[in-house]
Symmetry: C2
Subunit: 227 residues, 2 copies
């Protein structure tokens, strides 16, 4: 039986609908998607009940996957010790990768001033929940893993926002071998690590995300032909 929205909404959302703070669960998708934004600081005292986590993961599993193989596997981490270790490791990777990106001039400096500033400052460990997302190589060819996992991750981020939570998709923890995560979470070799998603009530309300107009990255029929 398909899950119903009723089952997915154990408690009404707590706050107003502005910015990227808590939103009414009945908000339209278009409103929600245009406001969704990465959060890097959370209220460590505000609970994220199991029922809400399961609602987010149920929405995640309704994303498409290659041949409907549903290869996702989730490990939900609440342990303060493990979250601290994740926060420290993410901070380290963040500094290394932003430094590298700046050196190569792949990213203009203005981008960093627009980011919520918790990432560099260790705000991610304030998230009461971290969801580690993997795929099972027994269920899908590794080449098709990413296209079957990140749509589910986006559903997870949107569902978190719909339920009034902030979230942050990170890949720094799982880049390379992800040895720390593998060890702490006792992951078998057949699981491929894809993402760590931090979830909690936002520490502050953020403005709308900044994006270039879609027309500037869209072409008609052939590359280079302006929209």
């Amino acid at each position: 039986m398909a899950p119903t929205t009723d089952r997915l909404l154990p408690a009404p959302p707590a706050g107003p609908g502005g910015g990227t703070g808590p939103q009414a669960a009945g908000d339209s998708f278009l409103d929600l998607a245009l406001r969704q934004r990465a959060h890097h600081r959370f209220d460590p005292q505000a609970p994220v009940p199991d029922a809400d986590v399961m609602a987010m993961l149920t929405v995640a599993t309704h994303a498409p996957s290659a041949l409907n193989t549903q290869p996702w596997q989730f490990v939900v981490v609440r342990s303060a010790e493990v979250r601290r270790a994740f926060g420290a490791a993410t901070r380290e990777r963040w500094r290394a990768s932003t430094g590298a990106a700046r050196e190569k001039s792949l990213v203009p400096g203005s981008v960093f001033s627009e980011l919520d500033d918790g990432n560099g400052g260790g705000g991610l460990e304030t998230a009461p929940v971290v969801i580690i997302v993997c795929f099972d190589t027994a269920k899908i060819e590794p080449a098709h893993g990413a296209s079957s996992i990140y749509p589910a991750v986006q559903n997870l981020l949107l569902a978190a926002a719909a339920l009034g939570y902030g979230s942050c998709l990170t890949t720094g923890l799982v880049d390379g071998s992800g040895a720390l995560v593998r060890e702490l979470l006792e992951l078998p070799d057949r699981l491929e690590l894809m993402a760590a998603v931090f979830v909690g009530r936002p520490a502050r309300t953020l403005g709308a995300p900044r994006r270039h107009p879609a027309e500037t990255c869209t072409y008609r029929e052939v590359f280079g032909a302006p929209w």
Copy 2:
């Protein structure tokens, strides 16, 4: 200036809200996400106006990307000739990949009987629009491409559904070198091909997607500890 929903909704959606057919734009995200499903046959006569394409792409560009680099590039194809070539190539890849997956027993046979049957039968070329999704390697390290592109693709699929369209995410056209797509679309070498998304009004209303309960693929603190 952030786009507003008003700007994104040039015309009211045409139909009722059941199944995965046209949905009211005001439907909640949770309702929408639980009904969203791949379509493989479309109504070739039903138009997909530019304004709707741009609405979908605007939502796509509001997904997160590594360091907010927004590395996506979209080529929107309406040419009947190119769409026929894509349909034929996708059909060929589909047959090869489902055959291979069956041989390796990665996918139970029952999965195929639940799929909308247009893919094997050539239904994808009935989609009036194909959106080719790439990322620009001048903007992002290739290793971070997938996690910055497929969330945008999922936003695109959801936005299509919110506007009453069906859609299908495929990677068969872009697997390997994607030589056919590169040639027809005159793509420069620096673009990495990630997906082809077929969009049109659904030829028929599909039931809700079938998924395993999220509890069956979720663990607590460490892999193997049941939710």
